[in-house]
Amino acid sequence: MGLLAHQCPWFVAGPMLALLVVGLRWTGNLHLGALGSFVATESWFARPRALPSWRVLFFVGTVLGGLVYALVTGTLRPTFANGAFDQMGLVAGRGLPARAALLLAAGALIGFGARTAGGCTSGHGVCGVAQRSPGSVAATATFVLVAIAVAWLLPIAALGGAP
């Protein structure tokens, strides 16, 4: 239990994620991708004619996995606090509605962009790159470089950010 309460060492965490990627492939040639689970869930809610696909259940499982972790480690204390995000110049001191609006906007960029690109950090970044798919490598290089640039620019730009 004490082990679970601390951040999993990276040299354990990396191979564990690899185990999930390889395990899904071995199970039924399934591709681990969080964005795909959002797409499947959105499609299913828009047209709930058929039984939900395995990807919808993967989405449900991801949410449940978070709950299981919080229960197992005894850390389930629902909160809207979001670390240094709450101190970003754009939203600092403006209350929950401002923070919610920024997260909604950023989320919309994530959803629109990642669906355009056909995947996100898990589907392209880990699964696709491990399969040496050129499209995934290009997508990963792009979103990693852009995210690093934006993360560095945020405190400099008027958006502000925790020092």
């Binding site: 969080a34 449940l64 996995g65 499209g135």
Partner: protein, 171 residues
Amino acid sequence: MSALSRSASVASTGAGRGSNAVKTRLAGLLFGVGFGFWLCWTRFTSYDVILGGLRFQQLYLWLMFGSAVVTAAIGLQVLRSLGARTWLDGVSVDWSTTSIRRAHLVGSAMFGVGWAVAGTCPGPAAAQIGQGHMAGLFTAAGIFAGVALQGWVSRRRVTAPVVSPGACAQA
């Protein structure tokens, strides 16, 4: 999407696909739980951990990513080289790759901006909700909206050339 993957599994499985379809969903659920648990244990559901990684204040994100990709690449390669078959339907373990398209770059640039601003990507946003990290509700709602909007826009684009043949130039 669900209809698409369903028909794909019909094509690949043949006899006994009914129970396999249930098992595939069960596998999706179980691997999802593992993924969500893993995302919390690694602290990737934390804004500060993601931003600390992107700003190179902590190397955890990159060391994890590197070790995950290398381990997964080796594991997948070994499975395929040995001619392993899937547990559920006994087909050869295999995957397809994609060549680089403009959409990979344009979409990923947008995604990269959103990732750095929200400090979370789709997997962590989902896990946050279960973990009690309620900011994930807004991020996940935004992701669903973006996903739906992209679907709507691309469906319109598919039909656009019929209305205005000039738009065909791209194809």
